[in-house]
């Protein structure tokens, strides 16, 4: 490819020594090649003309940007290891899909746990207090069930209404819950300890020594609701383990959501790190030059 030069010109330039080429770039024609003076001048003049510094306004803006980036991290060395490149569209899309799937899985898992729990209790012949289902749905799913009568809940928690073949454990647990509804002066922690004590079929007084003076869970309506529902369900089923299971299910649901959230954040960070890796590799190649 001659690029527009005549063949004899091309031959001439190809025969120029490295030193002659350097002279041209310094604005000095090669010895014995004075007719290349125009080219030498053009090169130096072009470099000078186009190499004007950015305007003072642009320069100020750039330096301010640099200062901002430098000041935004603990130190440039550390910042470089966490270089964040904007994820490519495909990566962003995958990340969003993963987050959506996690969220849906969490919600579906929580809902399934609720349905299974309440269904199992229904099979066991338990008449759930209205607030149990309501509060569980509200707390786990954030769904406000209509036509739920909270006042009726207290009346519904009556050990006398249990089936004749209900276990003693169920009766004891429901008795504790009924006392709670009727205004027993327990903190939330104490209430939980009593339910746990009754659900495990232990004799004597429940151990509330671990409940501090500030154990005011009773003041937290949401936590009360979940505790009541789960404990009441467990007691009525005659399966002490259900109380724990019920709570664990809710905890797992919320804990699962938390961990999923952390996972999502982690995966987001991974994308950034991957990106950083990519940038680092590129920079490494640059530095290698």
């Amino acid at each position: 490819m001659t690029g527009g030069a005549y063949p004899d010109d091309m031959t001439r330039f190809l025969r120029l020594s490295d030193e002659d080429v350097e002279r041209l770039f310094r604005g000095v024609p090669p010895e014995d090649d004075e007719d290349l003076r125009d080219l030498a001048f053009f090169l130096t003049d072009a470099a000078e003309s186009l190499s004007a510094p950015p305007s003072s306004q642009v320069k100020t803006g750039h330096l301010a940007q640099l200062a901002e980036v430098i000041g935004s991290g603990p130190a440039p060395e550390r910042r470089s290891t966490t270089t964040v490149r904007v994820a490519r569209p495909a990566e962003r899309k995958r990340s969003m899909v993963r987050r959506s799937v996690r969220w849906v899985a969490t919600v579906v898992g929580a809902a399934a746990s609720l349905v299974l729990l309440t269904g199992a209790l229904a099979l066991a012949g338990v008449d759930l207090p209205g607030t149990a289902t309501e509060t569980a749905f509200e707390k786990v799913l954030g769904v406000d069930l209509p036509h739920q009568d909270r006042d009726a809940a207290a009346g519904a928690v009556d050990p006398a209404k249990l089936p004749a073949d209900a276990s003693d454990t169920a009766v004891r647990v429901l008795t504790v819950i009924q006392e709670w509804f009727e205004g027993a002066p327990w903190s939330g922690c104490e209430f939980g300890a009593r339910v746990s004590h009754a659900a495990r079929g232990l004799e004597g007084e429940a151990d509330t020594s671990r409940c501090g003076a500030s154990g005011s869970e009773r003041d937290a309506p949401g936590s009360q609701g979940v505790g009541r529902g789960a404990a009441g369900n467990a007691g009525a089923a005659g399966n002490a383990g259900n109380a724990g299971n019920g709570l664990e299910t809710a905890n797992e649901a919320s804990g699962g959501a938390s961990s999923k959230g952390a996972g999502a954040a982690g995966s987001h960070g991974d994308v950034a790190d991957d990106a950083s890796g990519g940038a680092s590799e590129a920079a490494g190649a640059n530095a290698g030059s």
Binding site: M1, D38, L50, P53, P76
Partner: protein
């Protein structure tokens, strides 16, 4: 040697995030970086200068070498930024303002000087734009980066021998264009 004997101090201070060090680097490197971008017809030279320095801030801790290596490294970044900008431009074509128009719209100064500067830029771009893309790369990296042949070869991903040949062909073509049009800038 843009930095001379002060280079190690400037580099160390820049690594620590010193404002004065970055101002020094900017003062010494930005004009030639901008010149290369303008000669290559970059869509927004000033914007790319800013991007280049931001990447320098991020990657400087991994840089090793002297001032010659620094120039080679900086022009590697600039070259890659230019390629990225070209790809972006290809995906989303925009019609940038002509460089001479930007010169006129820039700082208020001597109108005649600014007009001449605009004409010069346009003329250089017109002539250099007639070279092949590879020829433009090696010639302008050599001219504005003041880079040695091996450094240019690394940046453009070619062998030094191929770069030498491209450089000579580019110079021959340029000389032909100059003599044909009687260019004087």
């Amino acid at each position: 040697m843009p930095f001379g004997d002060d280079f190690p101090q400037v580099l160390d201070a820049a690594r620590l995030g010193s404002d004065w060090a970055w101002a020094t680097l900017y003062r010494d490197l930005a004009p030639s970086v901008r010149g290369y971008l303008r000669a290559r017809g970059a869509p927004d030279p000033d914007d790319l200068v800013g991007e280049t320095f931001l990447q320098m801030v991020r990657d400087l801790p991994r840089f090793e070498g002297g001032d010659r290596e620094l120039r080679a490294w900086v022009f590697t970044i600039v070259h890659h930024r230019l390629l990225d900008a070209r790809r972006r431009e290809a995906r989303r074509p925009v019609q940038p303002a002509a460089d001479e128009a930007l010169v006129r719209a820039g700082e208020v100064g001597d109108v005649e000087d600014e007009a001449m500067a605009g004409l010069t830029v346009a003329r250089v771009r017109q002539l250099v734009g007639r070279l092949s893309s590879d020829q433009q790369d090696v010639l302008l990296l050599r001219l504005f980066g003041d880079l040695a042949i091996p450094d240019v070869a690394t940046i453009v991903g070619k062998r030094p021998g191929a770069v030498k040949a491209l450089l000579r062909r580019g110079l021959a073509s340029l000389r032909r264009e100059i003599s044909r049009e009687g260019v004087s800038i």
